[in-house]
Each structure stands twice: as C-alpha cells, then as structure tokens.
C-alpha cells in the first residue's frame, strides 16, 4: 500500500501517527471518491473493527453523512 506516513512530527507517538494514517484511509474510502447517488451498499455495521478505532470510523461515516 503506497498510502503511508510521509512525515510525522518527532513529538508524535507512533500509535498516534498510525491512528492518523488509518483515519486518512477511512476518510477517503468512505467519504471521498466519485459518488454514485443511491448506489452505495456499504453497511457501516459490517466493518471489522479489530484494528480500527471505533471513534475514527464514526468520524469518517459521520463526515460522509454530512456531505
């Protein structure tokens, strides 16, 4: 995957940087891209949350809903 950390402040913890990368990915996949109105079948409840912080997911989905 090319979407990666290009730069992170030395003051940031690695875990925080990883969270930001995940948020950036979710934000783009779920709230960005070409929109085909009425034809999105993604069910947010189906997302596997094993490695994804729930707050990050909610933020991305909430942003998608507001657009």
């Amino acid at each position: 995957v090319t979407g990666n950390t290009l730069y992170a402040s030395p003051m940031l913890e690695t875990s925080r940087t990883r969270q930001v990368t995940l948020l950036d990915l979710l934000d783009r996949l779920l709230a960005g891209g070409v929109v085909i109105h009425g034809r999105i079948t993604l069910a947010a409840a189906d997302i596997d949350l094993v490695e994804v912080d729930l707050a990050l997911l909610v933020a991305a989905v909430d942003k998608a809903a507001r657009r």
């Binding site: 995957v1 940031l12 779920l30 960005g32 070409v34 999105i40």
Partner: protein, 220 residues
C-alpha cells in the same frame, strides 16, 4: 448481476487489466479515453470488512500507478452495464475535467494534531461550566483558524486543496492536497519546514493516496 465500481480512468478500454475483489477480472466500460473500471459479480460481495477495505485500496492504487483515475467511493455498485454506460455518458464533461485535473498528480493528507486534553478547558475564566465549555470551543476554533493560516503555503504548493477544521477535538486541521508526482518530495519538505516552526500543534503527512478528495473536481 452486480457491477462493483473501482474508478473512472482516463484511458482506452483495452488498457485496463488485472483483478478486483474476489479475483474477478477488471473490465472497462466506456469509450474513447474515459472508462468506468468494474468487476462483475453474480451477487454483491459479502465482504465489507477491514480486509476488504485494504484490498479495495490496493486495487485502486494499482490502477493509479498505471492510469489517471478518479477513485470511486467504496461500495459503489450498479445493477447492469447499461447503468454504467449511462453514468459515464451523462457525466462525461465533469468526469473528463476531473481526470484532467488529477493527471500526473497524487493526493497528500496533512493533519495538525493536538495532544489529548479535557473538553471545556479554556483556562481559569471563573465562568460556570456551560460558559467555560462554550468559551473553550470558541478558543479552539480560533486556534484552528490560526493553524490553517500557518499552513497556507501548502495550498500554494498544490494543484488543488481542501480542508476541514476541528473534525475531532484533537484534530484542529485536516487538509487534502493534490500534488504533482514530481513535486511530492518538495511538498513533504515544506510540511517538515512548517512543522519545525509550528508550536500550536504537531503535523503528520500521509500519502500518496489516489485522489479521493478531488474525484468530484477541484476545490480550493
């Protein structure tokens, strides 16, 4: 029959190859130099979990490596090829303009990050909790606006940009920048330079991403 959409690509149909989700071959629907990249499925794939998200992203990134593309929102589907052709035909001018905007460019994300802190802490104002909370919100918004101002050189270094303030309490600024591929290193150096002089927050920069934030055209 279900068709899953991955991207709109600015290339001829015969230039699309490779596989999509569930190892279904990628197909191009369209004509001339604008096609929708899809896979055919007997029914909608059941996987919509974390693994499918990463797999989808890798497929889109492999397309981006070879073509100018507008990535589709994850989960976009059509019932038949006629719907796809109609969508490409009806939105041709808009899609072609967006493909031209992203040609030879990638998306970069820049986030300003605050450490975790208590909501409503606006200093010792002596105000009641409700007022203190509102004062803190106002103060945080002003701080976020100041961070956005400090990051303005990034917009000038990008082909297009968009940003949001305070999408989360600890994220005062999130920006998306469309950057020419050969300017990526220079852009990253600029982020590093701004971060070194920024005391209000810490910066993180991720990418290169497919141009998800610019798939509907440029915003700045």
């Amino acid at each position: 029959m279900t068709l899953l959409l991955y991207a709109i690509a600015g290339c001829a149909p015969e230039e699309i190859d490779g596989n999509g989700l569930e190892d279904r071959p990628l197909r191009a629907i369209g004509e001339d130099d604008l096609v929708a990249v899809v896979t055919h499925h007997d029914r909608a794939p059941g996987k919509t979990g974390h693994g499918a998200l990463w797999e989808y992203e890798q497929i889109v990134e492999s397309l981006m490596a070879r073509h100018s593309i507008l990535p589709a929102r994850f989960g976009s589907r059509f019932d038949d090829e006629t719907d796809v052709r109609t969508m490409v035909r009806d939105r041709r001018d808009q899609l072609a303009a967006a493909v031209a905007l992203v040609r030879d460019a990638v998306e970069v994300s820049v986030s300003a990050i605050w450490p975790e802190r208590a909501e409503g802490n606006a200093g010792d104002t002596g105000a009641n909790p409700g007022t203190a909370y509102m004062l803190a919100r106002v103060q945080h918004h002003k701080q976020a606006q100041e961070i956005a101002r400090r990051l303005e050189p990034l917009s000038r270094a990008a082909r297009a940009s968009t940003h949001t303030l305070l999408s989360q309490p600890t994220l005062p600024f999130q920006g998306a920048y469309l950057v020419a591929r050969d300017e990526l290193e220079h852009f990253t150096d600029l982020v590093r330079e701004i971060d070194a002089g920024l005391e209000e927050a810490e910066l993180a920069c991720t990418g290169p991403w497919p141009p998800y934030s610019f798939a509907e055209g440029g915003r700045s």
